[in-house]
Symmetry: C2
Subunit: 228 residues, 2 copies
């Protein structure tokens, strides 16, 4: 029986834009595990009640329910030890730093550039929740958050320097081959790519070349994502 994954969707159910859900999609593909995704929207928290919390991704693997993209990656390595590892044995402490950087630096930076574009792709009934919760977080309107992004994107691109530093030394964040380190950041970057036409990366940025290689993996899983 394939694994079921609850996956954040836009008004268009084929636009799946959660960075965390994308991490899990790539992780499942890396493990070679088939998945059936179920579109889910921000306000449908009661549909996730069985998982004991209200956010996606949630996977259902037989009798096992796991939420939180990091916990899902750890679970998949534990439950499927004979398939390619996502996180090197003994290396999870270090991967956790990259995960925290992607969540707290990279995605915070992306949000300040494209959060108003997220609102645009949502169903009308999900828009009020999204606007209210994000405006409370930023203490600004969504439109004020993204104002001046054409200038500010230069600073954002500077925060990607550690990725360029690693990619100058090895082809993947995981080393000679991609692993969960890559899927963390590929997931983060899929989010703005799916919901926004704003040009986050310069054409000649090595991060872009790596990203495109990553989206070509697994028969083009990332590249095939529906975008606005």
């Amino acid at each position: 029986m394939p694994i079921t994954m609850y996956d954040l969707a836009a008004a268009d159910p084929d636009i799946r834009f959660s960075p965390y859900c994308w991490r899990t999609r790539f992780a499942l593909a890396h493990k070679g595990l088939p998945v059936e995704t179920v579109p889910w929207r921000f306000t449908e928290t009661e549909r996730l009640a069985f998982s004991g919390q209200g956010r996606v991704p949630v996977i259902v693997d037989g009798d096992t329910v796991v939420s939180d993209s990091w916990e899902i990656a750890v679970y998949l390595d534990r439950a499927y030890p004979d398939r390619p590892r996502l996180i090197p044995q003994g290396g999870s402490a270090h991967a956790l730093f990259l995960n925290a950087w992607a969540d707290l630096t990279l995605q915070a930076g992306i949000a300040r550039l494209i959060v108003a574009d997220v609102w645009l792709v949502l169903r009308p009934e999900d828009q009020p929740y999204f606007r209210a919760s994000r405006e409370k977080l930023f203490r600004k309107t969504l439109e004020e958050v993204v104002a001046g992004r054409e200038e500010r994107v230069v600073d954002f691109r500077r925060t990607l320097a550690p990725l360029r530093g690693v990619l100058a030394r090895q082809p993947w964040l995981g080393g000679e081959a991609p692993d969960y380190a890559d899927y963390i950041v590929l997931g983060s970057l899929q989010w703005p790519r799916c919901v926004s036409r704003f040009a986050l990366l310069e054409d000649n940025d090595p991060v872009r070349e790596w990203r495109d290689r990553g989206y070509a993996l697994f028969d083009g899983l990332g590249a095939a994502a529906r975008t606005v």
Copy 2:
């Protein structure tokens, strides 16, 4: 025969402030390897000619000469496999991201707050080199670089969010016990601590609590460092 390490020194030869040299000091202590340090100053590049390059740290271990703090950590794990590992087997690709983040984000942020204080601790004969090279890099005078730091430090502290994210889940960056991930960042933070009285971290920052635990390791190696 103990390992010899060339170590960046201030005018006061007991002030050792290179973040990279500190990483190596902690790495050697983790391995339980005795070391004799040799004070070295920025302009003494010819004294390092034997290493084929002009920067510290350089270690001399019998017939082996290794430069670059990352390469030294990799060398120590390879040459002393029976001693506690610095980088988990198979985990070096992920540790490299933390190393790149510390070099390119953390230290760049620290430099913008304290680079003028570094100049103050140098020998008069080393000051012109330091000022010229750093002012070329920043395209500003050292004093202009650090101007407004009391306000700007708030943004700097925000860039430490990924460290706090990891330390909320585990006691050390390396997991349950410290490893090279910790020494990378402890090294970076030793630099401003040794040369500057500027308060980089707030008193209640969890990063500070972790740092102080780190400086207590190895009989207080980090805590005992001479500071201005």
